[in-house]
């Protein structure tokens, strides 16, 4: 299938925040059915890449291009990207007081469905759909009647992100350090759910500092980001090597 148009094609992407250049020429091609891990030391630009793909207004793209399903992704508003199937699981999910998770998620789903030409769901239809989705990822509805991320524990927030992902069925999911702050049991639950959502027609980019999440979500490709560039790419074994040897040797090699 390598001849088909890739789902995501990033070419020489440069981006800055508050005038500081963070991404300095990223090249990355992601095809349907693939899982890519983006690894790298703190400050290498991993989260910036995730935010830029989702269209966070604080980041400015200064050069390069990003094509998503043949469209110019950088021309699209954040909500247009979301409706077209780009999903970002936030490293720090944001709380919204007074709005239940169920209401929030139904509003989001209906915005996406409307865009896709599907009828909007009323609360009862939504609860039915939700029950199916929760079952598929072995979750329950205990978070649904609580206000969005308000007073959630770190684990609950991350679980909630994946739950939203299950309901919204993105084509391209970007997980921004979804493993950070999770204990080993929570990690297993959350990462296990992500793995269950893998399909031949969707793709996932896992942004992470540590290898351990990749024990649950096996990547097809692993990339190491350093100084705003991908300095090394390989298969899943690269992640294990990084875990064992740290990032310094990559930086040293990249500098050569």
């Amino acid at each position: 299938m390598s001849g088909a148009t890739p789902m995501l094609e990033i070419r020489d992407l440069h981006a800055s925040v508050e005038g500081r250049e963070i991404l300095r020429g990223i090249d990355l091609v992601v095809r349907a059915g693939e899982v890519h891990a983006i690894m790298g030391p703190n400050g290498s630009g991993k989260s910036t890449l995730a935010q830029v793909l989702a269209g966070h207004p604080a980041y400015t793209v200064t050069a390069g291009s990003v094509r998503y399903e043949g469209q110019d992704l950088l021309e699209m508003d954040p909500e247009e990207r979301a409706r077209a199937g780009v999903f970002l699981a936030f490293q720090y999910p944001v709380a919204i007081r007074g709005i239940t998770n169920a209401y929030f998620l139904r509003s989001a789903l209906n915005a996406v469905r409307k865009h896709r030409g599907l009828p909007e769901l009323d609360p009862l239809e939504f609860m039915d759909l939700l029950a199916d989705k929760l079952k598929a990822i072995d979750s329950d509805d205990s978070l649904m009647s609580r206000p969005v991320n308000d007073g959630f524990s770190g684990g609950e927030k991350k679980r909630n992100e994946i739950l939203q992902m299950a309901v919204l069925e993105p084509k391209l999911a970007v997980l921004d350090e979804t493993d950070s702050g999770l204990d080993i049991d929570a990690l297993r639950t959350v990462a296990g759910a992500v793995d269950k959502l893998r399909r031949p027609d969707n793709a996932t980019i896992v942004v992470t500092h540590y290898q351990r999440i990749l024990n649950y979500i096996t990547p097809d490709h692993v990339h190491v980001l350093s100084g705003g560039r991908i300095v090394l790419s390989g298969g899943k074994e690269l992640a294990l090597e990084l875990e064992a040897r740290g990032y310094d040797w990559v930086r040293a090699e990249a500098a050569v």
């Binding site: 269209g55 909500e79 979301a82 970002l88 007074g98 709005i99 915005a111 996406v112």
Partner: protein, 477 residues
């Protein structure tokens, strides 16, 4: 700032002018004007006397300046104190009401014609200085409930008016209350007899139409022992370049075991983006829990007015009585609001709850000012206050002035306050899930106001949420 504050203003939707011939008195205020107003309304002597006393007191007062608002001096001699649409002398049925007036209220979403009336809501429609029509009067009368315009009450039920008028807000209360007492033109009157639970929501819709006129209405609600009533007021005004004064007085009296729920959705014209025009809303609202176990709740959603100066309060005189105040106040563009409540605990085991949500956007300035007073005899009194402010953008302001005066050591006081900023991150999170920026803002703001909205009667909660969306459209991008 970046995309926050970037969108354009949604124009005020109720800004149209009704082209109708009005009968107005000359501008300015003196005893002759007051006599003229009183004569036009064919009032009994006690009423005129009371007005004149109020006027004589008012001229000894000076306008208060302690509120955290700024405006050019008001020329009280330039205001027209009485304006009424010309119509048949007495209105026995809706057929005699000028169709233009019916049309106006229909446009505002308040159909008065029998077949179109809002189910479950009795409406008194006030246009400039007079009440145009009151619906469901007969239905209510069957249970002994009186719901009519204030003018009619003065003529038909003078004994009730004389007994309760000024009993909660005396004309000496403050500058604007004194002015209102001297010149008030109309408003609503409701009386719920002993043991009756009012089967309908009672509602008054106030419309200012005439230019250069002020609106000075007065509402009086009396709930006899064991009765219950839920009352809602709404209001709007045309877009005009000059500021218009609205100085109303509302008095509520709840006797033993009675309950009054008073809700306001205030949508006076707020002025334009530069702060030109708009209503000065200087209002005195107070309820007296005169009886044991009585309860008065104020719920207000304030989205309009150039300047709001208003502190709906409760005097908790009866033992075990309860006062509540739930408020959402929005200031966008150049709007200024100085609003809050007063809870005066006199009786034993009296309880009060204050939940105030202030939202500031644009150059809006929002001040919460609240007083909780526990008097010596108020053993076991409790107060819970929560004041939350939300800022949208970085040009607006939120201020909180709580005054607490406790003279009984058994009192329990709780006060919580928070200020939050609607952030780019919050909006971005919603957009990343597929919601448009405006829907995201309205969702976040509605969530912030939820504790207040759930206190509103069902029909109006929806209206309030919609209104909030409109007044904030354009404040976040």
């Amino acid at each position: 700032m970046t995309s926050i504050e970037a969108q354009v203003l949604q124009p005020y939707k109720y800004g149209f002018v009704t082209d109708i011939e009005s009968e107005v008195v000359p501008a300015g205020l003196n005893e002759d004007i007051i006599r003229l107003i009183s004569a036009k309304k064919r009032e009994p002597a006690f009423m005129l006397e009371w007005r004149l006393k109020a006027y004589r007191h008012w001229i000894t007062l000076t306008e208060p300046t302690w509120a955290n608002v700024k405006h050019a001096p008001i020329d009280y001699q330039a205001i027209v104190y009485y304006a009424a649409p010309k119509q048949a002398k007495s209105l026995d049925s809706l057929e005699q009401v000028d169709p233009k007036l019916l049309e106006t209220f229909e446009k505002l979403g308040i159909p008065l014609a029998e077949q179109k009336r809002l189910a479950g809501v009795a409406v008194d429609a006030v246009f400039d200085s007079v009440s145009v029509a009151t619906t469901f009067k007969e239905t209510l009368a069957q249970q002994g409930i009186i719901f009519c315009s204030f003018s009619e009450a003065v003529r038909e039920h003078p004994e009730l008016v004389e007994r309760y008028l000024g009993s909660v807000v005396p004309y000496t209360d403050n500058y604007f209350a004194a002015l209102n007492s001297a010149v008030f033109s109309d408003g609503s009157f409701a009386y719920i007899p002993k043991g009756v639970r009012c089967p309908l929501e009672l509602s008054t819709y106030f419309r200012i139409n005439a230019a250069a006129s002020g609106q000075f209405e007065r509402t009086l609600i009396v709930a006899e022992e064991g009765s219950y009533v839920s009352y809602l007021e709404g209001c709007s005004a045309p877009i005009r370049d000059a500021n218009q004064l609205h100085a109303a007085v509302v008095e509520l009296v709840a006797l033993d075991d009675a309950q009054i729920k008073y809700s306001t959705v205030q949508n006076w014209y707020p002025g334009d983006e530069e702060g030109r025009g708009g209503i000065y809303n200087f209002v005195t609202k107070r309820g007296k829990c005169a009886g044991r176990n009585s309860k008065i709740s104020w719920t207000q959603v304030e989205t309009g007015s150039a300047i709001t100066w208003k502190y709906p309060g409760c005097i908790l005189q009866g033992d075990n009585s309860i006062g509540e105040f739930y408020s959402v106040a929005v200031t966008n563009h150049r709007q200024q609001a100085d609003t809050g409540t007063k809870m005066i605990h006199i009786g034993k085991n009296t309880r009060s709850t204050i939940v105030s949500k202030g939202i500031s956007a644009g150059h809006g300035q929002n001040t919460y000012r609240g007083q909780v007073k526990i008097l010596k005899g108020a053993t076991g009194a409790r107060n819970y206050s929560q004041c939350d402010s939300m800022l949208i953008g970085d040009q607006c302001g939120a201020h909180t002035f709580p005054y607490i005066d406790v003279r009984n050591s058994t009192a329990i006081m709780e006060h919580e306050a928070s200020t939050s900023k609607i952030g780019e991150d919050q909006i971005f999170y919603c957009r990343q899930r597929g919601l448009a920026a405006e829907d995201a803002t309205s969702m976040i703001v509605n969530g912030f106001c939820k504790e207040v909205f759930r206190e509103l009667p069902m029909e109006f909660a929806v209206e309030a949420q919609r209104l909030l969306g409109i007044s904030l459209e354009g404040s976040v991008g």
